[in-house]
Symmetry: C2
Subunit: 346 residues, 2 copies
């Protein structure tokens, strides 16, 4: 092991105390500026610290204080490019409050998620931001020990303690579908995420509701409904599948995230399918990912920076105050058409 090979072991508070000719308690006091220390002694101690280049051991402090100032951020898929906005804003809020982050990706694997949650529990982090939740039981139980805020998947179990923020997914797909209908489309396909995720279910329901308004009843097993898994390749496959339908071939596609949309675009490019002449496309995503493509899809923007910031703030509040009443926040996304925000035509 690395550290053991060092000739000189890590210096401890004792070494500083010895060097400064004071007790460890005094050094600790200087480090934490908790109770009063004489200016001269503080100076001596500080000099010793500097000279020895003493580095306090957070592990020991954490053990003693039962706090780590570290929170865990768990996501399903790291490669989803919109994620960077979430991480970035969370990081910044944490930084302002002197908190740090452990980062985990479940890759959509429930077993991996379970293992990660177990590790997190053992790690005694101060809180969790969870963007992947396939096992409500475990998370519900964990929420009694560690503050948790959720996004993506809410937990309905009344025993779950924690907050939830997300985009209003139902509203997003409802508006997009209505938009397509108003443009005259009747055969509208949907490329959605895994059906076991809340986010997919809600997005499907919004789509379904909008179609119901004009008397169309589309169920989950309809050939117009494709279940992808939010990555690019599944978008490609979805396009291939849906656009190969012999009857009721869709004239428009609702694609529920950025990555899958890229896959669709790739398929259309390779197969010379012209957008929007041969096919209309609407999606949910982030402006910066969408404004320079070779087409300008209509989309609902999920402001992930705002969501990330609010997630972090909610978590920090919950870490401070235990019995805060849980919040459920749905953020209505903005409608973009031809590159600018407009009121949707619904």
């Amino acid at each position: 092991m690395y550290r053991r090979c060092n000739i000189k072991r890590n210096l401890t508070i004792k070494d500083v105390a010895k060097k400064a000719g004071v007790s460890v308690a005094t050094v600790s006091r200087v480090l934490n500026s908790s109770t009063s220390v004489r200016r001269e002694t503080a100076k001596i101690v500080q000099d010793a610290i500097n000279e020895l280049e003493y580095i306090p051991n957070n592990i020991a402090t954490n053990l003693k204080t039962d706090q780590s100032h570290v929170i865990a951020f768990v996501v399903t898929d790291v490669k989803n490019s919109v994620l960077t906005y979430l991480i970035s804003s969370i990081q910044n809020v944490l930084w302002d409050h002197n908190y740090f982050m452990m980062f985990f990706a479940t890759n959509g694997d429930p077993d991996r998620e379970t293992s990660i949650l177990r590790f997190i529990a053992q790690q005694r982090v101060d809180g969790i931001i969870l963007n992947s939740c396939t096992n409500e039981k475990i998370v519900t139980k964990l929420s009694k020990q560690i503050p948790i805020v959720l996004t993506g998947n809410d937990i309905t179990d009344p025993n779950f303690i924690g907050d939830f923020i997300d985009t209003d997914n139902h509203a997003a797909t409802y508006m997009l579908t209505s938009h397509l209908i108003s443009q005259g489309h009747r055969n509208i396909g949907i490329i959605n995420g895994p059906h076991n995720l809340d986010v997919s279910y809600e997005r499907f329901c919004g789509y379904q509701s909008a179609l119901a308004v004009i008397g169309l009843n589309v169920i989950e097993s309809s050939p117009l409904v494709y279940q992808g898994n939010f990555d690019r390749i599944s978008g490609f496959n979805a396009a291939k599948s849906l656009l190969s339908l012999t009857e009721n071939r869709p004239t428009a596609l609702l694609i529920t995230n950025n990555e899958m949309m890229k896959g669709v675009l790739q398929y259309c490019l390779e197969n010379k399918i012209n957008i929007p002449d041969d096919l209309s496309i609407v999606t949910i995503g982030n402006r910066c990912q969408l404004d320079l493509l070779y087409i300008s899809p209509t989309y609902m923007e999920t402001n992930l920076e705002e969501i990330g910031e609010r997630l972090a703030r909610l978590l920090l509040e919950r870490i401070e105050k235990d019995h805060k009443i849980p919040k459920r926040i749905l953020r209505v996304p903005a409608f973009f058409h031809n590159g600018t925000t407009v009121k949707p035509i619904v």
Copy 2:
């Protein structure tokens, strides 16, 4: 505080020992399956663990064993979309070896970087992957206590102990510039990153060398050289500035990353500058970010998934074996033209 408000404190190994009617040592043995325990006793202990839903405290273990199985990953800018590939591949390697990640973003602020490094040192992580290094002294010193692997910025100080992997930046810009030259361009502008970063310097040198071949001597203060900071808005400003030159207005731009290129594209769109008729563009980036844009730039692909994987592997090796000889690896990027890999015309 959250945890303190809980009526029942966290259970410890002692509680398990008491419940099972054995000593803490035995429980510890069962947990770590280190030395031999009678099957029956193990069973009793395991039952107690399950019944109490005991969760081991990693903090205490870390303190005792001086290992955390956690590494730190530090980057400059989270929003750089290519980052997701790095994180993803690192995560997967770590997962395979039962390691976890703390994630930090310096946002290009040296002070923040310093604070982060201090925190990391205090945290006693097992290793560091550093993609942001403005203070070689601190990192060099730290490298004697914690295994470090670098990317982006190498450290020339012979006292630094650690590995380095990166794209061959010089080769990348050299090839791109030569390509432009072969296409007949003579006024070639470069939109580069902050000049205090190695990566920027190398990319500039590659550009400079290629131009020198045809007798053009471009220095850093040339009007054709723009210093951005790798984000989209600086790309936009760079395009505005370079394309407003009255004399020697560039006919081609070498843009050293994806994000800045997006800014350039935005500027060109807004100002009706046609690519490639009015302006040629070459860049460095990732295929998935570039293949669906409204133009198909020539680019050098930096395979960040490969680099991430190798970074993680090198770090884990270094954690295992202290006196491993430092490696310096430069990965030659692939040349893409019209969407496919080809031999560059140089």
